[in-house]
Symmetry: C2
Subunit: 234 residues, 2 copies
């Protein structure tokens, strides 16, 4: 049986094998959720870049610029990091995006055989795809917050562990912890997260609506992947 492992923050990626694996990158608040929501509702592709300055060449090609630093929309950009921004981007369907944590987590996954973007919004679609199509080891990379552990990303990893426990070995302590936390939180993700750091930061920035939206399970059924450097629907 292949393994399902969890990397709690990109800072710890050097302690995990990436090569040859299927990677699921998550960043619940909000990059991964926004990517899934945007691609589910009309976007055709999203180019993730790490630096603000890297977005300009894509903007010249007609891409809308999306991104935040410390949760706040980057000055001059057309879109922030809210899923509602991503769902309102049309008629433009191409977006270039840079975020504090999410696009960095994507960059560390570069050596993998396959990279999927996962969120609660398409949880079952990701789980079903892994269950039915993937026979190699899977590594879930939590984007975290500035290198640190974040609760919401770990809960998403735990949700995958719960759905995939019969098809994958859930054996390392990180996965076991993620699963235990998810089991404790699953009946009220919002309530469990209300004291978590990132939700508090976003609430301080008046993103209550975003928080609730990002915690909706299975609202969309698109499988979001990285293909030749772009985030697209599979």
């Amino acid at each position: 049986m292949p393994f399902l492992e969890v990397c709690l923050t990109p800072e710890l990626i050097k302690l995990h094998e990436v090569e040859g694996k299927t990677i699921v990158v998550t960043d619940i608040f909000r990059a991964a959720s926004s990517m899934v929501a945007g691609l589910a509702t009309g976007l055709s592709k999203i180019k993730p870049v790490s630096k603000v300055s890297d977005s300009e060449e894509w903007h010249k090609k007609g891409f809308l610029r999306a991104g935040e630093r410390n949760g706040v929309k980057i000055s001059g950009f057309e879109l922030g990091n809210s899923p509602f921004d991503f769902m309102d981007a049309r008629p433009v369907t191409e977006v270039v995006m840079t975020t504090t944590n999410g696009t960095k987590a994507i960059a560390v996954a570069a050596a993998a055989s396959q990279v999927i973007i996962g969120a609660f919004l398409n949880l079952e679609t990701v789980a079903n795809y892994l269950k039915e199509n993937v026979n190699r080891d899977v590594l879930v990379i939590c984007a975290g917050w500035k290198g640190r552990f974040s609760m919401e990303d770990t809960l998403f990893a735990g949700a995958l562990c719960q759905l995939l426990g019969e098809r994958f070995n859930i054996e390392n302590d990180e996965a076991y912890a993620a699963l235990a936390l998810y089991e404790k939180a699953k009946d009220d993700l919002y309530g469990f997260l209300k004291n978590a750091g990132h939700a508090k930061r976003l609430r301080g920035l008046d993103f209550e609506k975003d928080i609730r939206f990002c915690l909706e399970c299975n609202r969309f059924d698109n499988l979001t992947v990285i293909d030749k450097g772009f985030i697209v629907n599979a």
Copy 2:
């Protein structure tokens, strides 16, 4: 109210402030537990060193050499890393010790104002000391396993969070996760940990007795600290 934070592995220490804090280092399986047990039952001091070769100068001064690599006693050393070894060291009362994870976690705590060694064996003593005597921020450093998250150390951090929640701010996601995991595990630490990686590794090495011993709460009441480079009773 001062903060109680948790650093999940020494690999993440650069994301936390150490200076000016009281640090609690834990390594439940088994360095911290062995230190507490040894000092509770007759040892006078333990010198932690990171490298095997550093132990020789202390051995020449009469210290017993203790330590493991990958859970196995270092060849030629008088003691391994079992609490039972540490409780059987007399008539010699001085030990020099090097372990895979524990002594490294101690080394990263060097810039702190105060370093305490904590284990389930002296949980209440550590908690009471912090409650009654410490008004600065506290950081619990989990030794982990080769840089990675470990469940048993995180559970100990969670136990401290539970006992200290009224005197310290338990606000960062790591502490909140540790507390939630401990609440789930506390009625049967042994059962909860039976699938955890490190317990499995030790069981594979036939240290079942050590595992059960290291999970006993409040067997001893000595406060174990670092003073001028030695681990001693306060």
